[in-house]
Symmetry: C3
Subunit: 173 residues, 3 copies
């Protein structure tokens, strides 16, 4: 786990009991993502995000920062819960960056609807929900009550590129 | 597997060739869930259900009854197909309870659209579809033709809290 | 892996830099699926496809041709990437066949919105994205720019019937 990943965990800090609700873009900026940075480059057929009606669906996002996975491996083997939470946060940051590249302004997000968190898990690891809390908490920080979402969290045997976590979002705009 | 879980399996009984279609709430009551019982308590950021447009998305539901998992472990290891089916049914009951808490009356469900069934599976277990039939059959019982749904069933290495099954629903209202 | 599966890979050929966009049904015909063939028979409660508003959701589709899985097992164990790509293509063909049986004409698909590719994966296999490219490329071939989709790709421990790949689609019509 790199220092950068732990830095995100530290920056987010403990959950506040009565969180302020800054503009989503401000939260991203605070986390070191410039408003025009596109983290996930568009590919030929498989694209980071699709808008359909009032919904935006993202591709499954990996914990990539500056073009590199911040960690590889499985939870419960080489990685612990805090590592997984940092990964989940970076997945969400990349998902939000992709959504922003489609809709221009995250303030247009009316509601975060659904989040699926896939956690690469060793045989005995059952704290997938704690890992997923890294994603959920960041969405709450960024969107306030509009960030309250339905979530599915599952443990899987492996993810692309040996990523520890993958997250996809459905948001309503 | 507790007696309570087997009780659900017995109560549902064999599939009828021409099933009657009772009101969904009546089916839940028959299964021992009172109409106002909220099985899944709302959390801070991650909530049991989100309504967006004409759709309601649930969080992934675990086979929890009265605050406890009715079973833990993987199919094909300590659990068999009937155990998994009972778990799938409780997941659906919790999902329906969550939807009811949002929309007030399950009779407002126009269509069960999509069901994803995650089955914690040992290395040699490939009967995930039979496990998922526990979920599908209950939806058919509760909603009749409106309960006919698209379904994805996958075997995963682990689920939160060592739950054997997790189910999420998308319904149209 | 059967010869039939490899035949699909050969037929699709390498990605063209500036692909033509034939009518989706023509692509299916070219791949040996007659326009009225329904690959996936409807079941009692769990159906191949559900239309809801402007969306069509498919069930998770397996790589079945003429009633049989074209392969079984896990990627990275008995199967390689090319095998997995052929499986992913047959999953998509079955999904498109199911959608066509619902909407009558694949030309009504306005956009392929979301694709989830589940890859049954051995412990050391991390090329799930290459397997999923088999699905994505076929969607690009069939739909052109309307086939550009958001995609989640995950490695799972097992799939129903020991299938190597499962794919579900959400399309907008």
């Amino acid at each position: 786990m790199s220092e950068r990943a732990n830095w995100v965990v530290r920056l987010l800090g403990p959950r506040r009991s009565s969180p302020a609700v800054p503009a989503p873009d401000a939260v991203l900026a605070e986390l070191g993502l410039s408003p025009r940075e596109v983290v996930v480059p568009p590919a030929a057929v498989h694209v980071p995000v699709v808008r359909a009606g009032a919904f935006v669906f993202t591709s499954g996002q990996l914990p990539i920062r500056a073009g590199e996975l911040i960690a590889t491996g499985r939870l419960g083997e080489t990685l612990g819960v805090a590592d997984g939470q940092a990964c989940a946060q970076w997945c969400v940051l990349n998902a939000l960056s992709a959504i922003r590249s489609e809709i221009g302004d995250l303030g247009q997000v009316k509601r975060v609807v659904k989040v699926v968190v896939y956690v690469a898990s060793g045989a005995l690891f059952t704290d997938q929900a704690l890992v997923a809390d890294g994603a959920s908490e960041l969405l709450g920080r960024a969107f306030g009550s509009a960030g309250r979402h339905a979530r599915s969290t599952v443990g899987v045997s492996a993810l692309p590129l040996d990523a520890p976590v993958e997250v996809d979002l459905v948001v309503e705009i």
